[in-house]
Symmetry: C2
Subunit: 95 residues, 2 copies
C-alpha cells in the first residue's frame, strides 16, 4: 500500500480532472495555447469562472502562462495529464 503522502498526491491529481469545466479547459489547452477570454467563449462560461479555475490549475502546476500586454496566454505544463486523459478515454470507450 502506497504511503499516505502518495495517496494524497494521487487523489489531488484526479481531483483536478473530475470537474467538467476544468477538464474541458485542459483538453482545449492540449491542442493550443489560449487566453482567458478565448477559453471562456469556447466553453460558454464567464471570464471570472475561467480565471478561478486557471488559478487552481496554475497552483497545481498543470498549466503555465505567458503574458503579452494585457493578455495572458495559458498552455499545458505537463504532458502526463494528456496521458491520463488518453488512458481514461480508452477506459470509457470500452466500458
Amino acid at each position: 500500500m502506497p504511503d499516505e503522502e502518495t495517496i494524497q498526491a494521487l487523489a489531488e491529481t484526479f481531483d483536478v480532472l473530475r470537474d467538467p469545466t476544468r477538464l474541458r479547459i485542459v483538453v482545449a489547452l492540449s491542442r493550443q495555447e489560449m487566453c482567458v477570454l478565448d477559453i471562456a467563449e469556447l466553453l460558454h462560461v464567464s471570464e471570472s469562472a475561467v480565471s478561478h479555475q486557471m488559478r487552481l490549475l496554475k497552483t497545481l502546476r498543470l498549466v503555465k502562462h505567458r503574458k503579452n500586454g494585457k493578455m495572458v496566454y495559458y498552455s499545458l505544463d505537463d504532458e502526463h495529464i494528456e496521458d491520463l486523459i488518453r488512458v481514461a478515454t480508452r477506459h470509457i470507450s470500452e466500458r
Copy 2:
C-alpha cells in the same frame, strides 16, 4: 473538442479516484480480492463507510463482487483503472 457525453464520462471516471478512501480501496483491490470487513480494517474506516463507497464503485463498474455465504468479496472489474493509477503515479513522482 470531445462531445459533452465523453467529457462527462471522463469527469466521472476521474471523480471516482479523487477521494482518498476510494483510491485506497481501489489500490488495495488491485492487489487482492477483499471483503468489506477486511477493507474496513485495513483502511481504519467503518464498515458502513466502506459499503457506501462499494456501492458507488459497483455502480460505476469499477469493481465486481462475489458472494460466499454472508461475506461479499470485491475485486477490480477493470484493468484500465490500474493503468490510470500507474500513469498518475509517474506524474506525481516527477513533479
